[in-house]
Each structure stands twice: as C-alpha cells, then as structure tokens.
C-alpha cells in the first residue's frame, strides 16, 4: 500500500488544500473545511465529534494549528453506520515548543478513513493514541504522516485496531526524520485484535531516517481472539460472553485509558462497548 502522494506536508504547499475528488473520485464531495487554531502560550482541551450525516459519501477537511508554546488535547470521536463512506483529513501544524495530544476513536462505516498529516517545528511534540474498530463488514482506517524537519521534536503513536464480522481495519503510519531533525525522536506502536476468521487488520508502521542523531522505534502485534483465554476466564467463573467481552474491552482499554478525562473516557467506553 503506497503512501498517498497528497501527504506532502509543507505550510503553503498547494496540497495543503485538500481535494478529495482528486484522490478518491468525484463522488466524494468536500462538505466541510474548518480550522482549529490555538493561540500562543495557551492550553486547551477540545472534543470533536465527527458525527455521521445522511450523506453516504462525504469528505471533511480540518486544519489544526497549535501555535508557539501552546498545548492542545484534542479528542476525535467518530461512529458511522454501515452504509456510510466518509473521509476525514486533518492537516496539523505544531509550532515551536508546542504540543498536541491527539486521541482518535473511529468506529464502523462502510469506508471510514482518517488521514492525519503532521508538521513539527523545533522542540514541538505530537502524541497520537486511539482505537479503530469495524464490526459492520466495512473498512476503518487511520493513516498518519508525520514530518520531523526541525530539531528536537518528538512524535509518539499508539494505535489499536479490532475487526469483527468480516470487517477490516488499516493503520498506515509513516514518520520521516529528515536530515535537519537533529535530536528528534519518533515512536510508533500498533496493536490489533482480529475477532473472527474472516476479518483482517492491516498495519504498516514506517519510519524513514536521514539523520544520525535521532532515536526511533516501531512495533506492531496482531492477535486473534484466543479461545484459550476465554476458557481460562471461564474456568475462573466468567460466562462465555463476559469472558469474551473482558478480553476485548481490556484490549481496547489500552487506548481508551490514555484519555486523561474521566467523562470522555466513559463516553468512549460506551461507544465501543458491545
């Protein structure tokens, strides 16, 4: 699976303006383009609910600009029904000394794709954590491209996926540590759990390094819902469905528990339960 060409990230790049028709076909209409901007020296929490609309095919574009020495906690919640095909593109620019913690939780949809491209300035930080799941026979995807072009920037990604009922999830994480990224650090982790025999979870974590002073790590695991684990919990007293739910919700909890706000954590748990 190739990284899409539009994921070139430069401020002022002509591709900064997202054109879904060009990349996914003319049936995808951009219905919404908006900007979140956090002023210098600010700290804020935002929850963005990417609610489904009646339109079966749509694309939304969001620019996120975290200005110098600011810190933004942004949590994106999204659930689509099984007939919806929607694409969400996030252009993220984190200025010098600033930080963005992005939680992304995407559920279901026939085609539900979140593309996140991030540009990091000096001493900035980007942390992405999240969970994608599909159990309606569709495809849920999180695609990231993170560019370290300046010194001492940090990125960290922890993305989980679960697929059930002949569904699919895709995580494609590309991080570039460019030649000017002295002292920067990038980590990618992804964990998948396949819940039935006909579902699939794809992961492609990539780190491209062009600098000798950077640090990076990546890892990925995919497991199936193991009947031995269910039996283990049954033998301790849980019924089959409680055992299965305990295994799945504990797995999903590895992403959900990172959310630093209890009420949102509870909302996300509800979203993915059952």
């Amino acid at each position: 699976m190739a990284i899409h060409s539009f994921l070139k990230v430069e401020k002022g790049d002509p591709d900064w303006q997202f054109s879904p028709e060009r990349y996914f076909g003319k049936e995808f209409k951009l219905i919404d383009a908006s900007t979140i901007e956090l002023a210098e020296n600010q700290s804020n929490l935002m929850v963005l609910r990417q609610n489904p609309t009646e339109k079966e095919l749509l694309a939304k574009h969001l620019k996120i600009n975290v200005k110098k020495d600011s810190n933004l906690d942004l949590i994106i919640l999204n659930e689509l029904t099984k007939n919806l095909q929607q694409i969400f593109l996030y252009d993220v620019y984190v200025e010098e000394g600033a930080g963005l913690n992005l939680g992304i939780f995407a559920k279901d949809g026939k085609f539900n794709k979140h593309i996140i491209q991030v540009y990091l300035e000096n001493e900035s930080e980007f942390n992405a954590y999240g969970l994608m799941s599909n159990s309606v026979g569709g495809d849920t995807e999180i695609i990231t491209k993170i560019i370290h072009q300046h010194s001492d920037s940090r990125s960290n990604q922890v993305i989980l996926g679960t697929a059930d009922n002949e569904s699919q999830t895709v995580f494609q994480g590309m991080t570039v540590l460019d030649k000017n990224s002295d002292g920067s650090e990038a980590n990618i982790e992804c964990f998948n759990m396949i819940l039935d025999e006909k579902s699939r979870c794809h992961s492609k974590p990539d780190i491209y390094v062009d600098n000798n002073t950077v640090r990076s790590s990546l890892g990925c695991t995919t497991e199936s819902l193991n009947p031995d684990k269910i039996y283990y919990l049954q033998s301790k007293g849980l019924d089959f469905y409680s055992a299965k739910n305990a295994i799945i919700s504990s797995f999903q909890g590895r992403a959900i528990d990172i959310i630093p706000y209890e009420d949102i954590k509870e909302e996300v748990k509800q979203l993915f339960s059952g």
């Binding site: 964990f191 193991n226 009947p227 031995d228 684990k229 039996y231 283990y232 919990l233 049954q234 033998s235 301790k236 007293g237 849980l238 019924d239 089959f240 409680s242 055992a243 305990a246 295994i247 919700s249 504990s250 797995f251 999903q252 909890g253 590895r254 528990d257």
Partner: protein
C-alpha cells in the same frame, strides 16, 4: 466431594485418558504424579471443563451433581478451581480488575475496599510487589513465577471447595516454592480438598498427600501407600508398563 468413575476422554479423536476413577473427600490431598505427556494436565482440564476435551465414557460427580456436561464456568461456580501451567496474558487487564470481575460474577458480597484489603494481604503473603494489583496480566509486566503465584492469589480470593493445582512448582525458585507450599498446606481443611499434580519431591514433602496416584499413558495406577512418591519419582516410571 468429587467422584470420577470409569471416565475416558479424547481430544481431536486422540484418546488422552482411559478408564479413570478417583474419589476425593473433604480434607484430602490427592497427589498425581507421572511422566510428561502422560495425561496429568488433561485430567485437570477434564475436571475443569475444557471445551475441546470430550468425555466419552463414565461420570464426574461433584457434590452429588453430575458435572460431565457442564461448561467450565458452571463447574467453577460450584467451587472447582484449576490453576494453569501457563496462564495466558490478557492485554490491558490488571490483576485487581480481574479479581473484582470474578468476584462480581460469583456474587461475592464484599465491598470494593474489603476486596482490595484482602487482596493486598494475599499479595504480601506471596511476597508480590505492592503494586501487583495494578499490574497488567502480560509477560512484559509479570515474570513467569509471578504468573504462577497469581494463580494462587486468585484461588484464595475465590475460596473454592476443590483446588486442582497443576504443576505449580515449575518456574518457581526454592524461596517461592516454600511460600507456595505453605499457602497450599493452609488452604486444605476439613471442608476443602486438593488434587495436586506435580513431580516435585520438595512440594510433595511439604504437602504430605493423603492419597497417591500414578498416571502413565492416560491410565491411573492407584498406590496404597501415599508416601511412596519419593521412591517412584527416583526409580522412574518404566516400572509402570
């Protein structure tokens, strides 16, 4: 308490246990010894209700109830607890969360705070770290010996009537074995019983089993003298054709 009568079992059409008969009464400790792959763990999981182990003949009666066709969780709810030789990791689940989940399923009336206090005492008894309850059940967070001791902490929290202990000594060093042996010995009283599967002479010495069974190729050879385990383990199992 438990009566297994002329019971045979297969997995994937391969016979693992043949014509097994054992009767365990409250207060008794039954030791099962035997060479590897002789059917010791299969016997444990036959009693526990492993879904892939098919009982082809005989009966398993627990407290006057035929449990042959019950699922594992129903057998657990009657008071049967089995430790696993290799407990699985459950990513994202902490030890204390699991305990609370199991006690809730068992309709245990203890308050959360009491559960945490009881759990903490057991962690101390088994010389686990103070943070053990918040540790994830995975191999990055726990050592193999902690997994083994954790099986017994769970057991003591659930307080079963029959404990089936499957080679708990594997992965334990001498100090841990002392702790585990003492805890197991304390567990059995005149209302509880234990099926102890092990070839470890030290653990058998500590437990002083009341009954001894040798299992070879899926068949049990009952011994009249329970103290014979030392000699049998030293001489090997070739004496049992």
């Amino acid at each position: 308490m438990l009566t297994i009568k002329n019971t045979s079992a297969v997995i994937d059409a391969i016979e693992l246990l043949n014509d097994i008969s054992i009767t365990i009464n409250p207060g008794e400790i039954h030791a099962i010894i035997g060479p590897s792959r002789s059917g010791k763990s299969s016997l444990a999981h036959l009693i526990a209700g492993h879904p892939l182990l098919i009982q082809t003949e005989g009966s398993i009666i627990f407290n006057k109830k035929n449990i042959s066709k019950l699922d594992a969780e129903d057998r657990a709810s009657l008071g049967i607890y089995t430790t696993f030789q290799n407990p699985p990791e459950i990513l994202g689940l902490t030890n204390l969360k699991l305990v609370k989940m199991l006690l809730k399923a068992k309709k245990d009336s203890r308050l959360d705070q009491t559960i945490e206090e009881d759990y903490s005492k057991l962690c101390e008894l088994f010389e686990m770290s103070k943070n053990h309850g918040n540790t994830d059940i995975d191999y990055d967070s726990m050592t193999p010996s902690e997994f083994k001791k954790n099986e017994l902490i769970l057991m003591m929290m659930l307080n079963p009537k029959l404990a089936i202990i499957d080679e708990i000594d594997l992965e334990l060093d001498d100090d841990d074995l002392d702790i585990v042996g003492a805890a197991l010995k304390n567990f059995v009283n005149n209302k509880k019983a234990m099926l102890l599967i092990t070839n470890n002479k030290t653990l058998l010495d500590m437990m002083s089993p009341t009954h001894l069974h040798v299992i070879v190729k899926g068949v049990i050879k009952k011994q009249d003298d329970a103290t014979l385990y030392k000699r049998i383990i030293e001489d090997g199992y070739s004496q049992f054709p």
